[in-house]
Symmetry: C2
Subunit: 328 residues, 2 copies
């Protein structure tokens, strides 16, 4: 019996899910759902149907877990509670401030339908959250730090592209090495926004555009760049394509804490990711939690869950006995 | 209502538990149990009784979780199943090969008594196991590596002390930097024992002892040293005391995995610990899981559990709502 996975939304993340399913032979891809004309969507797996999203509910008895691959701004806030009426669902909702509201909405419909909904799965929120939580529970007298990068920020790249005279752009978020070192030393420094991350921009300007003005507009942009040390590099469209087409990302969660009768001992817990493909890694996390959703549902559980609620063993194919023998 | 903790065995780990309880004000130390004469044991917390271990069972209604701080070789295999008849128990049993048998023994008595037993809690087994498991569930097509150190190995230090002419000794296990770098590069190298760790020995010789012979005996000792590059340094007793009295440890769990339609993307997940005090950190992990044991018991659960079975949120004082708002 394989776990039948549905993918709703076939962009970078949806494609990542498709590839991840192929790496886990306890799963199979049952169907892909799209808002586009299904005949225009070519997927990598032979024999798997592509349906219009309007037809999704008709397939509810053939899909064990529906993975929602839409955006957090407008898609997931409505999609996840809606599809939890019919499917076990899982999403990567990442608008941190709105997670409590999203949780409540999904919990309500999932409890009514008797389905499982797991929200905010990925690496941040997701594995980074989990590591902040474990480290904080262990080192209760301590302080944690999260650094992101080196990696592409879609939001910052888009912000540069909206500047007049910019043809295309990519922006890397980069943790500051000296800040990382200070944190790892156990000094628990107070770090400003500028001290934690750099922003590195690769920009293709339109012919004849005023590069000095573009650079100035980027560096002074409030929220996005003004509070950071930002470097701006102008390159050709070919160079951008050749050297900056990937979607790498990663980062660090570090907690420093003290123990001992007189707080005399320092401890550092560090978790880091170095990812060639942000969406494919996020997809791999989603697939592991899809397995958990399936099992929780088989156990008769329902309602909304997050990575904090799920026993780790539920993510693994192996039995408890195999895990204890081979991994403990 | 605080969680009442009992400590059975008051050595380095037991003392670490006592200090950790002081850092978590949802807990209180209820009693310490020792095999020594209780009047000879001085603890750091005023007003807490020290009892002989033979009197432990009489206190069963006053202790929510008993933390067993004995050794894995002879104490815990009998103690944990025995005390699970009367208490929720937790141990740091670390003989990897015997974990399945220990699990079964504790599971049996804990199910009969309706208590919770959590075994093999600490950092390895424990947090390292958990990180091997999460990383393997996410990057199913990959390979993981565990490195230990830099840190004191008690077993190796003891082995040196048994050599004729050795007065005292400390041994550090040290991961090889080039091996760590090779793993982090995503190359998934095959590494021999010698390539992964170095052994550094600090030895105090008896007056007139043959240092060349001692060095030779250390370096050729089967299992302990023969398969490693080992350095031996002779120092005075004062130097050993001044520079090698601590109990630091740590290590790295690294998993490299591939994703993508053609396995074209590499990902590295790394978890590392740098600990000034091995027993105090282990104690901090035990205390977090003691909180989980208490809650699982309140939920009406019983039987043996490991870190793989326990929902992460059970380790934390905060409510699910607070965790989602502040840490997700």
């Amino acid at each position: 019996m394989t776990i039948k996975i549905g993918i709703l939304g076939y962009g970078n993340l949806g494609r990542g899910i498709e590839y991840a399913v192929r790496q886990n032979d306890d799963m199979e891809l049952a169907a892909v759902f799209t808002r586009r004309d299904p005949s225009s969507v070519k997927i990598a797996t032979n024999g798997v149907p592509v349906y219009h999203v309007d037809d999704a509910i008709k397939t509810k008895d053939n899909i064990d877990v529906m993975i929602l691959c839409g955006g957090s701004a407008t898609d997931l806030p409505t999609q996840t509670p809606e599809y939890a009426k019919y499917f076990n669902v899982i999403d990567s909702f990442d608008t941190h401030a709105k997670i409590p509201e999203h949780f409540d909405n999904v919990d309500k419909t999932a409890k009514e339908s008797g389905k499982i909904g797991i929200i905010s799965v990925g690496w941040d929120p997701g594995m980074f959250s989990l590591n902040r939580m474990y480290a904080g529970a262990i080192l209760s007298d301590g302080k944690d730090y999260t650094f992101w990068g080196k990696g592409i920020s879609q939001g910052h790249s888009d912000a540069i592209r909206r500047i007049n005279g910019v043809k295309d752009a990519k922006q890397y978020t980069i943790p500051v090495g000296t800040a990382l070192d200070a944190v790892r030393s156990g000094e628990t420094p107070e770090l400003t926004t500028r001290e934690k991350h750099l922003r590195e921009c690769w920009v293709v300007a339109e012919d004849g555009a005023d590069k000095a003005r573009i650079e100035q507009e980027i560096k002074s942009m409030p929220n996005y760049f003004a509070d950071y040390d930002t470097t701006v590099n102008f390159i050709t469209e070919d160079e951008l394509k050749a050297n900056h087409s990937g979607i790498p990302h990663g980062g660090f969660v570090i907690r420093c804490g003290k123990t001992g009768l007189n707080r005399e001992h320092n401890h550092i817990i560090e978790y880091s990711l170095k990812l060639d493909s942000n969406p494919e890694f996020t997809a791999s996390v989603l697939i592991a939690y899809a397995r958990a959703a399936y099992r929780l549902s088989k156990d008769g559980q329902c309602g909304c869950k997050t990575v904090f609620d799920i026993p780790p063993a539920y993510l693994c194919r192996q039995s408890g006995e195999e895990l204890r023998r081979n991994l403990l």
